[in-house]
């Protein structure tokens, strides 16, 4: 496996330059709604999808940006986004 990821600023780079930051679960729940189960789901739980999912990645050995991208957990390869029409 040799993951590469496409940093929105630096382009396609070796996967080891990045830190994985978890599945994209949307914004954090409001602190006013502190039901333990609900909060735990946000913090720890995962459906552990075998397939494509949206994730957060941090370009740690690079520009330091957090970005989301899609990756297939069964191949551990980034799912290439179709290029934007210019």
């Amino acid at each position: 496996m040799a993951l590469t990821l496409t940093c929105p600023i630096c382009g396609e780079r070796n996967g080891y330059e990045f830190r994985y930051g978890g599945e994209d679960k949307g914004p954090r729940p409001r602190a006013e709604d502190p039901a333990p189960g609900h909060w735990c789901e946000y913090v720890h739980m995962s459906p552990c999808v075998a397939g494509i999912r949206k994730e957060w990645w941090y370009h740690k050995d690079g520009c330091g940006v957090w970005f989301t991208t899609e990756r297939d957990t069964t191949t551990s390869l980034e799912v290439k986004q179709p290029e934007k029409t210019r």
Partner: protein, 971 residues
């Protein structure tokens, strides 16, 4: 042995002799020899003894397909003699031999094979239980092939390179070279990897015609010359491809030649497209004693003569299943080998011209016959058998060339995740579905025709070119058309095993796995090939699946009476060729950081230790209790290099929001000139960091983190605000600024000598922050902190000034006898003050509340969405949590060792730190204990490792231990 010197295909120079030793006896080889060919030329027939039965093993192949010729060279075990170029002075030794290779004391084991069926070790030696530990010792002794000394030092130079290429071609034979030329012709950058020391592959040693007047070996030279000439093709010879990973990451290792600046090097290539052209090797013929020294693959005998000038024997029997075997017999006959007969498993389908050539030479040709057995420690005779009538005939010979057919070298494709499927026509497992940007060509697709092999290379080369975005559709179309007009794959021989019982028919040489063993394995219910491999060990030896891979899958299918199509060979694993750990390791990789004061501290007697990514001074004398260092800080003045602290600037309109998100306190209330101490938690409320924040301007803050968190802090801020689109900037200043903590009652006196600034207690009080210059030059950010419990100035200055400042402080402090102090002294000083270090006084599961820092937590800022705040609410009233307490030992002679546990009937916590305090003249410490023991006055029973149940006792006390009122901080 005399060499056939005049052959144009030869790769040796017999005028240049090379001396080496074998079993401590002197031998002579010639330039161009491998260790194996030199030994063979010297008359060595038995190279090693086999793993289990100690059977004699000899030269069978020339590309390291089995462990038969694995030898020890200069102390290095398991060196494949076939793949190792002979060098002057090599000391070569046989492996797994007790006695000599010819007379091995353990040779009797071959007669005990009945006692060692498949998986026998699972079914023996455990009854009665007392037997096992004794048997185990014997098992260990018997197992293993090579020997290595525990103090062995690997000589040689190891290198690593990471080239990129448009197209990476694996295999420097005719197909690979054609592919490289096709791609390079369009201007792409191409890498070619070839495991042998020369290009040409399958054409290189053959003398038959490519076209009238042009023999194959000359055609190989033509192609090689074109490739070597091309400026945009980089050729790596002596380079074995060993790994293929997704996104076309290819790894290989290269052996250096005499003028290379390395002995071995690791190569990692990321290519846009990959072409695999690794050709074929031979599929062993399964018959009784099929691995006796003297039994040899057809190409082995053929190349021994044509490449190394060695005729492998006096009198030979050929038992083969493909035309290359007949070609070899003819060529070798012409070079003087007596050929008794050529038995061909195939009843028909041979190249008529070749058969005629046999007849011309008076060589008996026996279609529909196969070898079934051979005798002798090295081959003395071979028994052949007619596959229809089972009539048998015996032939005297000292060489039995045996080969059932070919097998494509698909390892690289399998590693690249190609889907393979059985092809009934060739009898091969061929790629049915290739991964994107990976192409295959040449013999590994079943092609035999020389022109077709080259054109298939062009097709692959053009396809790879297309992957790189270069338009070569027309060239590709033409090459495809041409390929279609040429001869396709020939029908392969499908015989798996001669008609024998298979008691000594070895399907895996390395592991001594016989056909009989496989039958036993199948009878015991192991049906998946992967399970058969695990139970019988076939394919798990030094050369992995090279010998058994193809045959095992075919045999299993045949045994179950089902089509080979549904049986898959076992999974191919990297590395495809065993690689030295030294080669993978390459250059030295430690990346450790030093502060600007590293050398100054060493000069001052600092004992430097690696702590995290940094080297830091732990002690400044051999007294690990650091009494002098501690006393000097308490009574005088000391300085500590605190450069490793994380240091950051955060600024911008939303900087406060970001601070509010990650810090547990209310960060909106920081006043300029004042220091805010706070902490960060994770979403479980567990404390992960503490540090100070100062305000340097509107929406402009400078803050510190613990050393361990320096690397992740920017990331942490940005992560926890990733959905918010806040406008703030951050810079990690950890390496840009150095920090000296000047601490002790005389600290001000020292600092006053270096600055004009007013640093009196009234102008610059405890908890204050101010910026001034030292000697009117060095800009310093100074903080009045008190981690060690004394009057302290934490001086942050640009790293480039650090060494000067250190020297100035030493100079200015000399009248007061200023001394540096190290981490252990700081550790005791801060403990006396009741200050904690995260990671020392906290665990992964310790919350902010657990360590008694709940006063930092501002509950009124729920809108800020502070990380960890919800969890702190969930856990604040929870029972049974571990709490941080201070304790004093009852009548202790010494401190309990750090890491001792606190017990009642159960483990109730542990001692984080405990020391004899020279300041307080008693043993104090900090512990994380269950809440029922956390109250002041509670008794702690401390269980030390190796205490044999002798508990130590302590009582929980209030912290801090030292200077309860904090007077010394605010002097």
């Amino acid at each position: 042995m005399n060499r056939l010197d005049g052959l144009p295909t030869c790769r040796i120079d017999s005028s240049r002799k090379i001396e080496f030793s074998w079993q401590n006896r002197r031998f002579t080889g010639v330039a161009g020899d491998t260790v194996a060919t030199a030994l063979y030329a010297g008359g060595v027939r038995i190279f090693s003894r086999s793993l289990k039965y100690h059977r004699p093993r000899g030269l069978y192949s020339l590309d390291g397909e089995s462990s038969n010729t694995c030898v020890g060279i200069d102390g290095i075990p398991n060196v494949s003699a076939e793949n190792t170029v002979l060098k002057e002075g090599m000391q070569v030794r046989a492996q797994n031999v007790m006695g000599t290779p010819r007379l091995d004391l353990m040779g009797f084991l071959d007669k005990l094979d009945w006692a060692m069926p498949a998986g026998f070790y699972y079914r023996t030696m455990h009854r009665p239980a007392a037997v096992w530990p004794i048997a185990l010792k014997q098992v260990r002794k018997m197992a293993g092939l090579g020997k290595i000394s525990p103090d062995f030092q690997m000589p040689g130079r190891f290198d690593e390179i990471y080239p990129t290429a448009d197209v990476c071609v694996i295999g420097g034979g005719p197909a690979g070279l054609s592919a490289a030329l096709a791609a390079a012709g369009t201007g792409l950058r191409v890498i070619v990897m070839e495991s042998r020391p020369w290009l040409g592959g399958f054409f290189d040693f053959r003398v038959c015609e490519y076209r009238p007047g042009l023999p194959l070996y000359e055609r190989a030279a033509e192609l090689a010359a074109q490739v070597e000439k091309a400026a945009n093709i980089q050729v790596f010879k002596n380079t074995a491809m060993v790994g293929a990973y997704s996104n076309n990451l290819i790894t290989a290792f290269q052996k250096g030649e005499a003028d290379d600046p390395f002995d071995e090097r690791y190569i990692e290539v990321r290519a846009k497209s990959v072409v695999v052209a690794t050709g074929c090797m031979e599929r062993p013929l399964l018959f009784e004693n099929n691995e006796r020294p003297g039994v040899m693959q057809a190409a082995c005998a053929h190349r021994l003569a044509h490449t190394y000038g060695l005729v492998a024997g006096q009198k030979a029997v050929f038992s083969i299943g493909h035309d290359l075997g007949i070609e070899a017999a003819i060529d070798l006959f012409d070079l003087g080998l007596e050929v008794s007969c050529v038995a061909d498993i195939r009843k028909e389908g041979q190249d008529r011209e070749l058969v005629e050539k046999l007849a011309e030479r008076g060589i008996d040709f026996l279609p529909g016959w196969t070898a079934v057995d051979c005798s002798g420690k090295t081959v003395k005779s071979a028994r052949l058998c007619n596959l229809d009538t089972y009539v048998q005939e015996q032939f005297e010979c000292d060489l039995l060339v045996a080969s059932a057919g070919m097998t494509p070298v698909t390892g690289p494709l399998c590693l690249a995740q190609a889907k393979m499927a059985y092809d009934a026509h060739t009898g091969y497992f061929l790629p049915r579905q290739l991964p994107a940007r990976v192409h295959a060509c040449g013999r590994l697709l079943g092609l035999n025709d020389a022109a077709a092999i080259e054109v298939s290379g062009q097709v692959a080369g053009y396809s790879a070119t297309l992957d790189c975005g270069v338009s070569v559709e027309e060239g590709l179309r033409q090459a495809r058309e041409k390929l279609d007009s040429l001869a396709g794959p020939a029908k392969g021989c499908d015989l798996v095993m001669a008609p024998v019982k298979g008691r000594k028919a070895f399907i895996c040489f390395d592991e001594d796995t016989t056909v009989k063993n496989i039958k036993q394995t199948l009878a015991m219910g192991f049906d998946a090939t992967e399970l058969i491999k695990r139970f019988s060990a076939a394919g798990t030896g030094p050369a992995q699946g090279a010998i058994p891979g193809h045959n095992l899958a075919l045999f299993v299918a045949r045994y179950h009476g089902r089509s080979s199509a549904i049986t898959q060979p076992t999974t191919v694993r990297d590395p495809l060729v065993p690689v030295h750990i030294a080669t993978y390791a390459g250059a030295y990789h430690d990346m450790c950081k030093r502060t600007p004061m590293h050398d100054a501290q060493k000069t001052a007697g600092g004992i430097m230790q690696r702590i995290g990514v940094w080297k830091r001074a732990r002690y400044f004398s051999s007294d690990t209790a650091c009494t002098a260092e501690i006393e000097n800080v308490r009574n005088n003045v000391g300085m500590l290099d605190a450069t490793t602290l994380g240091k950051f600037r955060i600024w911008g309109p939303d900087a406060v929001k970001a601070l509010q998100r990650v810090y547990i306190s209310d960060m909106s209330k920081i006043r300029e000139g004042r220091i805010k101490y706070s902490a960060m938690c994770n979403e479980d409320g567990c404390i992960i960091d503490d540090g100070v924040v100062v305000k340097r301007g509107e929406n402009d803050y400078y803050f510190t983190t613990s050393t361990a968190r320096a690397g992740q802090t920017v990331e942490w801020f940005r992560y926890h605000s990733r959905y918010d689109n806040w406008d703030f900037n951050m810079v990690n200043l950890t390496d840009a600024y150095g920090v000296i903590n000047l601490a002790g009652p005389n600290a001000r006196k020292v600092l006053e000598k270096l600055t004009e600034a007013d640093i009196t207690n009234s102008a610059f009080a405890y908890g204050g922050f101010c910026e001034f210059k030292i000697k009117n030059t060095i800009p310093v950010r100074a903080m009045r902190l008190g981690f060690v419990g004394e009057l302290s100035f934490e001086l942050h200055v640009p790293s480039s000034y650090m060494q000067s400042l250190w020297a100035m402080l030493e100079e200015a402090g000399r009248p007061f006898n200023i001394q540096p102090f190290g981490l252990e002294a700081q550790n005791v000083l801060r403990m006396e003050k009741g200050h904690l270090i995260i990671g020392s006084e906290s665990e992964q599961r310790t919350t902010l509340n657990d360590v008694g820092l709940s006063f930092l937590w501002d509950r009124s800022k729920s809108k800020a969405g502070t990380v960890g705040a919800v969890a702190l609410m969930h856990t604040e009233k929870q029972e049974g949590r571990l709490k941080l307490v201070g304790f004093k030992m009852d009548n202790a002679q010494r401190a309990p060792r750090d890491g001792s546990i606190v017990v009642d009937q159960n483990v109730c916590g542990h001692v984080c730190i405990a020391r004899y305090s020279t300041t307080l003249k008693e043993v104090i410490g900090m512990a994380l204990v269950k809440d029922h023991l956390a109250g002041e006055g509670a008794q702690l029973d401390i269980y030390e490792d190796e205490c044999n149940g002798q508990l130590m006792h302590a009582h929980v006390v209030k912290m801090p231990f030292y200077d309860v009122k904090g007077e010394r901080l605010s002097m």
